[in-house]
């Protein structure tokens, strides 16, 4: 096995181990319900984390995604409930908007040579601000089409379901993996992460790629917003606060380096599942106070990072001795 697959393998190993531990304590956690929930409940986070993976692989960061999700939801709710538009048209429209929004941030980052952290932070303010302006109230979406979409699911034995949005997340991951490893764009993303100046000298179209990366992140944040609006049947300007941090955490737990250039889209999926597992475990336990919940999440996060480092270091050392 190659060195670079180590973090990924370590992460998968940790996930499997901890799932086993959880099941030992709560046998119910093996039910198809829990597994189905893990996919459905984390669908919107997973989709946006795919975009975040590309951004981080290129050495950037996108803090705007949570706000974009909220904006998308509010926008959909407003145009569907007050505008009477068909959802499919609205979906297309909102995806165009969020993609353009991402591309614009990418353009500012590239052409004005401004740090991604700040540009996307401003983007976060702006997107959430736009959501407020559209509606501060939470707007329910009652369009029948939504009910139809929610009706699509695959029933697993034991009461679990693979829902449309859960399936969509898996699809997005699959496409993300293909883009990352099988397209020139994907290689260019890694190239940017390896060093923008070098990539430029090697003829990577830096401007186009940067804009593409943030456009992709915007697109996926938009898609995630659609999923979120399906998930909650509403648009709410205060929704998805802090999702960017969850997404970044998932990406990093998944073994991607924040400095860029190294990591895998598939790792992010495991990162998402690990986070979901932590939450499920805490709910199953059900004895923790609000503050112990936070402390435990922090500690588990720390433990995962430590374990990952440990496994990687051990394997490296072994290799050198071999």
């Amino acid at each position: 096995m190659k060195q670079k697959y180590l973090p990924l393998t370590a992460t998968i190993l940790i996930f499997v181990l901890s799932y086993a531990l959880c099941v030992m304590q709560f046998p119910n956690m093996l039910s198809t319900r829990v597994i189905g929930n893990l996919l459905t409940d984390n669908a919107f986070l997973g989709i946006t984390a795919v975009g975040m993976t590309f951004v981080i692989l290129s050495g950037g960061i996108d803090l705007s995604v949570g706000a974009v999700i909220a904006f998308t939801g509010v926008f959909l709710a407003v145009v569907l409930e007050q505008g009477g538009m068909h959802p499919l048209v609205a979906f297309a429209l909102v995806l165009v908007i969020t993609t353009a929004f991402g591309a614009l941030m990418g353009a500012i980052i590239h052409y004005l040579e401004m740090p991604a952290f700040i540009v996307t932070l401003a983007g976060m303010f702006l997107a959430r601000g736009m959501a407020f302006v559209l509606s501060i109230d939470s707007v329910p979406i009652k369009h029948p089409f939504y009910a139809t979409l929610k009706g699509f699911y695959y029933k697993l034995p034991g009461g679990g379901r693979i829902t449309l949005i859960g399936g969509l997340m898996l699809l997005v991951f699959a496409v993300g993996i293909v883009i990352a490893h099988r397209t020139r764009f994907g290689t260019n993303v890694y190239a940017l992460g390896g060093g923008a100046a070098t990539a430029q000298l090697m003829g990577v179209p830096v401007a186009r790629t940067t804009m593409g990366i943030y456009a992709l992140s915007g697109l996926l944040a938009g898609l995630s917003g659609i999923v979120f609006s399906l998930y909650t049947s509403a648009g709410y300007s205060l929704a998805a606060v802090g999702v960017e941090l969850d997404a970044i955490t998932a990406v990093v737990i998944g073994g991607t380096l924040l400095t860029g250039g190294s990591g895998f889209v598939a790792g992010t999926l495991v990162g998402i599942l690990i986070q979901g597992l932590i939450q499920t475990y805490i709910t199953f336990d059900g004895t923790l106070s609000s503050w112990w919940t936070k402390i435990l999440i922090g500690l588990l996060l720390f433990a995962f990072i430590l374990l990952q480092k440990g496994i990687i270091r051990l394997t490296r050392a072994e290799r050198q001795h071999a």
Partner: protein, 340 residues
């Protein structure tokens, strides 16, 4: 003299931005520049900005040094909450003010040591290393206050939040002193240069004999100390420790302040004074929004627009485009946007 000049040159963009914002606000709200003496202290919107900006200024001072090492400290908001809670619980359980303050600062330092160890020794990426404390820290703070607002009436502690000295509110005095001390500390010793060296090239610095792990930890400790001070001020200001909300999202404001101050998130060159100005600029925007009387749903949009505007003005591209009014394609460097 020459250094004074370059120093001013370094701060010029921030000074211009601040002046522009002050002028803009005083056009919307004419009473903005009024200052008067009331209850033995200066009173007016300008003082409010300095006063309200205190937590972010303090956080930005520590954050600047951390960012100069190519790090970032997301935990400062949570550390503020922890330290506020510690201070409140100690003072209400009857400890003296000195004990309380010392213990609280020690807690801040410990938080910094924790972050520093993760970054420098365990080699965890700063954003994730500090995320651990950001998440868990607020829980710890709530554990101390048990989720409630822990109020206190100790006049000494309250004085730190709302007292005044020499006509200035105490928080302003504190951050002024802090800023000057830290600036002297880094510039009158070799710390500043060594920190910048680490931020630009950690490997080369280590090979040159710079004590990288210790300095890295020290940077996070300073940040923890600043956050502790900010936490004390925030608690003293409202006479209670609000573990749930103290310092919430202030880490983003602090980072923003550092960037508005012109320090690169990629590490290296930094200026404490510029970051302090950056924090004051952000507070001026916030206060301006409050004074303007717009409905609150516009707050974020206005803030975003102003910040983007300032940053665009500051961006290297924009500046070169202005100095070389010749062909815009005749700019100096290749795209030196080294992503690391």
């Amino acid at each position: 003299m020459a250094t004074a000049k370059t120093y001013l040159g370094r701060l010029l963009p921030q000074l211009i931005a601040l002046t522009a914002i002050v002028i803009a606000i005083s056009m919307v709200f004419p009473g903005f520049l009024n200052l008067q003496i009331q209850n033995g202290r200066l009173y007016g919107s300008l003082i409010d900005i300095l006063n309200r900006g205190a937590p972010v200024v303090l956080l930005a001072i520590g954050m600047t040094v951390v960012i100069a090492t190519k790090g970032i400290d997301l935990s400062v908001g949570a550390v503020m909450a922890i330290c506020g809670a510690v201070a409140a619980s100690l003072i209400t359980s009857g400890h003296s003010l000195t004990e309380t303050l010392l213990a609280t600062l020690v807690v801040g330092i410990l938080c910094g040591v924790w972050n520093g160890l993760l970054v420098a020794i365990l080699d965890i990426q700063p954003i994730i290393a500090t995320l651990v404390l950001m998440v868990a820290g607020r829980g710890i703070a709530q554990l101390i206050t048990e989720g409630a607002i822990l109020t206190f009436n100790h006049p000494g502690l309250i004085f730190i939040g709302s007292g005044s000295f020499a006509g200035l509110p105490m928080p302003v005095i504190i951050w002024l002193v802090f800023g000057i001390l830290v600036a002297l500390l880094v510039r009158q010793t070799a710390l500043g240069m060594l920190i910048e060296a680490i931020g630009v090239n950690r490997q080369a610095s280590t090979l040159s004999g710079v004590l990288t792990p210790v300095l890295l930890i020290a940077a996070y400790v300073l940040s923890g100390l600043c956050a502790a001070t900010a936490g004390i001020i925030a608690a003293a200001d409202i006479r209670g420790a609000d573990a749930n909300n103290a310092g919430l999202w202030l880490e983003l404001d602090a980072i923003l302040a550092v960037v508005v101050g012109g320090t690169s998130l990629l590490g290296g060159r930094f200026s404490i004074a510029a970051s302090v100005l950056g924090a004051i600029i952000i507070q001026a925007i916030n206060t301006g929004i409050l004074l303007s009387g717009f409905p609150p749903e516009f707050n974020l949009i206005i803030k975003a627009a102003i910040i983007v505007f300032i940053l665009v003005l500051q961006s290297p591209r924009f500046r070169t485009a202005f100095t070389f009014v010749r062909l815009p394609r005749a700019t100096g460097k290749p795209t030196e946007r080294e992503a690391k």
